[in-house]
């Protein structure tokens, strides 16, 4: 029986991640305990947890969007730069005294538009998604910088946004928005046909074609979904900062998002995975980072540990499938 419409390996990975997340929480708690009372440690843990949604939200939403894209067999390396464009659009709106809602809507449209462009280019030019989005990684970053220099009068590298009203989504409503969006995604994958079609596309495009499905529409709809969630994540990201710095916004963002998606059990080649797994994967990476902050005094070793962790999990997963894959390809 297919529980929750997921395959056994994906469910197993989710189980591991749940256990891993709990272990990390326990680990963080263990780090907080020395030198403090039990109640004190608990309250500090509470603080950490309270801040988690706000800080984790952009990555989680982007990861959910990227999961859909990866399901269809594509990939998107440009999401960090798209985030920068969101920031630039927001800055432009802000500097022209646009209403906050308009500024945020701009973010959403920018993300959706750029990711749709990615999908369309892959389709029209017949170039691998890897290349198109690698190009986007560079091009959109430049585009963001051009936008912000042209569109924001007197821009000098970064823009400070002191008004409280712009903080609202990212700081005050973050948990609610995150919960709603994640909940919507999970309900979506459990109850709708479209996610299953995305998985089918990644599993066997030939079978889809034989069944009469419209492949280009399917592929582009995944990018649009990705754009929607990335835009939402962009809104939360932008409103969680005091300053907008498009040159540095989202640098390296795509790497941790892809790592989280792959950690969550989604196959990098498509066809298998779940939003729930992605959520657990993002949470795992976030908690791992937090645990490293508390466990390791050495600020500089954190990224190394994070990288090692990602490699270990992925490597372990790949080695499990190695034998059968090597035999199959000989036929």
């Amino acid at each position: 029986m297919m529980r929750l419409r997921m395959t056994a390996p994906v469910l197993r990975r989710m189980a591991w991640l749940v256990a891993g997340n709990m272990a990390l929480l326990a680990g963080i708690f263990a780090c907080l305990l020395p030198g403090d009372t039990l109640a004190g440690a608990v309250s500090r843990l509470g603080t950490v947890l309270r801040d988690t949604p706000r800080n984790m939200a952009p990555e989680m939403l982007a990861a959910i969007g990227l999961t859909a894209i990866i399901w269809t067999g594509a990939i998107d390396l440009s999401i960090g730069s798209v985030l920068a464009v969101c920031g630039a659009v927001f800055a432009m709106g802000y500097s022209h005294q646009a209403h906050p809602v308009l500024c945020f809507a701009g973010c959403l449209l920018a993300a959706g538009g750029l990711l749709a462009t990615n999908g369309l280019l892959v389709r029209w030019l017949g170039i691998p998604a890897l290349i198109v989005t690698l190009a986007g990684l560079a091009a959109y970053r430049g585009f963001a910088l051009v936008l912000v220099n042209v569109g924001v009068p007197g821009f000098d590298g970064n823009l400070t946004v002191p008004e409280e009203i712009y903080r609202v989504p990212g700081r005050d409503w973050a948990s609610g928005i995150l919960l709603a969006a994640v909940g919507a995604a999970i309900v979506f994958e459990l109850t709708c046909r479209r996610p299953r079609l995305w998985l089918a596309h990644g599993s066997s495009a030939a079978a889809c074609r034989l069944q009469g499905l419209d492949l280009p529409r399917l592929a582009i709809s995944a990018f649009l979904f990705g754009g929607l969630y990335l835009g939402l994540g962009g809104i939360l990201y932008v409103s969680n900062q005091q300053t907008i710095d498009p040159a540095r916004m989202g640098l390296g963002f795509e790497l941790s998002v892809i790592a989280a998606v792959v950690l969550g059990g989604t196959n990098i080649f498509g066809g298998e995975g779940s939003f729930m797994g992605t959520v657990l994967g993002v949470l795992f990476l976030y908690l791992a980072r937090q645990a490293l902050i508390y466990a390791l005094d050495d600020v500089h070793a954190r990224q190394a540990f994070e990288g090692a962790l990602i490699l270990a999990v992925i490597g372990f997963d790949c080695v499990l499938h190695r034998g059968e894959h090597r035999m199959e390809e000989l036929k």
Partner: protein, 321 residues
Amino acid sequence: MRAVVLLLLLVLELAVFASVSGSDVSTPGGILDYLELKFLDLIPGLAPVLVLSVGMTLVLVTAGIDLSVGSMLALVAAVMSCFDGGMSFWLTAVPLGLLAGVGLGLFNGALVARLDVPPIVATLGTMIFYRGLCQVVMRDAERAPFFDVPGYEWLGGFSGSLVVLVLVVGLGGWCWSRSGWRRELLLVGGNRVAARYAGVPLDRRLLQTYALMGGLAWLAAVCFTARNGAVNASTASGLELKVIVAVVLGGTRVEGGRGSVLGSVLGAFLVAVLDDGLREAKGWSDEHLAFEISHLRYLLLGLLLVAGVWLNTRFGHRDET
């Protein structure tokens, strides 16, 4: 022919930037002067990218990719920077750096060949990991012992870089085009199963390819530090993109099975001229454009990549060099 197209593009680029930078190219003497100046200027800065492009060509030929080259360069440079300047540097830091580079490359190769991790995922992970290690080594410091090493700085100058490039590109390229290795790698990238049936030791070749990439990352690190003299935790971020653009522009396909070192060299020149030209055009852009010309660099790089691959897909025919 691919190379001709690239040369034409190069000439076009040079012409555009010459006019933008206000140089006098109306007379043959002026043109020669301009070209000579360009050449002298470009070569030292070009060296790291060129060296890495040679290695990346091989990796792409095997239908792989290596996104960690920037981080490898930085880590190797960081390791080398831990040693004091002086003559002993050549005996301690430099060989150790080579060892480090090859070791890092071998790790990539092991992930791809032994664990069957897809190259993009593996090198994405090692990109983060190596950068992290670099941060561990460097902390927040910027270390600059390189100019205290006798003879080191020469490598970063025009003649030193030229020697390195001639050795790597010239000699290396020549060896490559005649090596038995190359035939096997082309088969690995062209049809992996056919390579297995033809008795090609798949795992060993992949390990060697990525290890070579690591070794070349060391050489690129040497060239880089010889020119810049210093290294910090964020050295060479984003370098991999330039290298991949250069290689792809040169006619090598991402799917593997075909590759040209000469093309990658020309591609690297294209990218370097673009970079340099944009930098020079700063004066012009400050007058005419509202934004800094360097922002255009990213845009153009991306466009070049897409255009290059698209041209390859549409018109790519003849093979290797």
